[in-house]
């Protein structure tokens, strides 16, 4: 029982980081029908902005974090929207898919070329001590990661539902034309969505890099798992992405421990197939109708 509890907490912690990346997928999809296949690299890159701050420029972690936040918002939020998405959007979803795949490759290879192909140590933001809960030894870092991620997603949900700007963003997501008629500054709302996605990516990067180490190739696995989490939970619901992320994290841990470590990467995909067959809109997603 203690082992199960430890696996559960650890899985929820990792899953909550996947959820941060998965929420980014759903936000961009809702706001502008963009599927960002560079989302994993968006999580990988901010860790290197911080390392540039601490290792190259010699700043302390907090200053480096602020530097990374500015770089992330400007490059992965503003410029991503203006330089890649805006020109591509009129041409449909497929060119954007191709463009973001290419962007992911460019980001990965740029870090490899200009920083290092080797993994880099990354400072832990939380205590690495352990506590005993009901006979199970639980990592403080896991608990802190879980709380931080859930708090961030809850705040986002509150922002989207309880503030005027958030409701304008939701209106834009639901029906862009009507929102525009009602006087919503649609372009600004979409920009906010991209900036929030970038900020969530930075948060995921800071939480996951102390465990996975900072490496140019980290984005590949994180991006794939976050994408699966978003589909499993429901691509058009923030809370769906949260549930999907947590579920994938827990299933990954439990399947590796109790079924097969060799096939652990296959279980999230099996879950994805089952969800698509049984409930195509995802666990918490809503069915969308389109005229064809």
């Amino acid at each position: 029982m203690a082992e199960f509890f430890q696996l559960l907490v650890s899985g929820l912690a990792t899953g909550s980081i996947y959820a941060l990346a998965a929420v980014g997928f759903t936000l961009l999809w809702q706001a502008s029908k963009v599927i960002n296949f560079a989302q994993g690299e968006f999580v990988m890159l901010p860790a290197f902005f911080i390392l540039i701050g601490t290792q190259v420029l010699g700043w302390n972690f907090i200053v480096a974090l602020l530097f990374a936040l500015i770089c992330t918002l400007v490059l992965l939020g503003y410029f991503f929207k203006r330089v890649i998405i805006d020109p591509m959007l009129p041409h449909g979803v497929l060119p954007i898919v191709i463009a973001t795949i290419a962007l992911g490759i460019v980001m990965r290879d740029s870090v490899k070329e200009f920083y290092s192909a080797e993994a880099q140590p990354f400072p832990a933001v939380f205590s690495e001590e352990t506590v005993s809960v009901f006979g199970a030894v639980i990592s403080v870092q896991d608990i802190a990661i879980l709380i931080t991620s859930l708090a961030a997603i809850t705040l986002l949900q509150v922002f989207l539902t309880r503030t005027r700007t958030g409701r304008c963003m939701q209106a834009t997501a639901q029906n862009r034309a009507v929102a525009e008629i009602l006087g919503v500054n649609v372009k600004r709302m979409i920009l906010y969505t991209f900036l929030i996605n970038a900020a969530l990516a930075l948060m995921a990067s800071v939480l996951i890099s102390p465990i996975y180490l900072a490496k140019f190739s980290n984005g590949q696995s994180i991006g794939l798992i976050a994408f699966i989490a978003a589909i499993v939970g429901g691509f058009n619901q923030v809370r769906g992405a949260l549930v999907g992320g947590l579920l994938i994290g827990v299933i990954d841990n439990l399947s590796a421990a109790y079924i097969s470590a060799e096939y652990r990467t296959a279980f999230p995909l099996i879950l994805l197939i089952i969800i698509i067959l049984v409930r195509p809109q995802g666990l918490l997603g809503t069915a969308e109708e389109r005229t064809v």
Partner: protein, 379 residues
Amino acid sequence: MKFSKVAVAAAVGAAMIAGSAQAQSVKIGNVVELTGGGATVGNNWKNAVVMAFEEINAAGGILGKTVELTNYDTQTNAQNSRAMVQKALDDGSYVILGPIYSSSTKVNMILTQRAEIPQIVGSEAPFITTSGNPYVFRTSFGAAQSMPKLAAYLKDGVKASSVGVIWVNDDFGKGGRDTVITELKKRGISIAVDLSTEVGQADFASDVIKLKNSGSDAVFAYLHEEESARLLKEIKKQGLRQPIVGETTLMNQKVIDLAGDAANGAKGHVGLSADAPVPAVRAFAKKFEAKYGNKPDHNGIKGYVAAYTVKYVTEKMGKFDSKAFARTLHGLTISPKDEPGILMEVTWDDKGDVDRQSFLVEVVGGKQKIIEVLPKLGN
């Protein structure tokens, strides 16, 4: 007419100069993991090889010829390593150095065997030297040499009666896992849990929880460098109390740097260490650190030794003959008295395995601390 005579003379002159330059140099191919999962180990090896040949060239080269070194990147991909070895052979390499990953060596050493070109590798899986290839040579212990020493340490040093084994599911890991389990069982030590992990695995939470609850007296870890660091960090995060014991990769300085405090207390056997109480090794480490800004790991020492092996064997033969090189190296002992660049006395057997002193090490304060010096197996 006048112009064509000048052109012909220029072409002949250029050809003569090119031919003369070619005759004054010897090509060596260094096929190694410069990117991908093995970049950490590959770059250490490559930097040491480059440094060694710069020294050799500055001192007059080998038999008066300058070494023309070309580095080829396997991208830590077995199939790509095969293509790179073929390219190095096509480019006319006299000897090929590398790679380090056993899964790569497994698929490319057949090419050097067919071409009858010696290949000096950094790989440690047992099959490298048991497949009857007379052209392949190690630079460090294979698992068959190091695991008996480790099993003896787990029994007598750690006093373990059961051990949890965690290993990476590739040729390197499987070879080490099979050998250590056989050696542990020979000594009456039971295997509490046997966990395979994947190359490039990032999340070790479930593995560490299983190790923690296995009831073993110690954990034996046999993974690559980056995965070792992630495992050690997860072990610290989960508060695992059992002693962590490993082989050379776990004790690697890069692992210690990546894992930080989490590496402290880990113990293991290393065939080569920059902290070894051997003046020549420490002098090499100092030169390496001054040149590259980081301390070499055992792969750096292996690369350096590989380069000086090429120099010593060729000068001993007095000619550049790849086939004779392989014959000469079998059964050869090179002492630092004869070739200072070899750093420690080393003997190659008839299969290409090496024998030299080795060390039991503990990580203390982010550094390797030598606990015990183990003699050559042949002594």
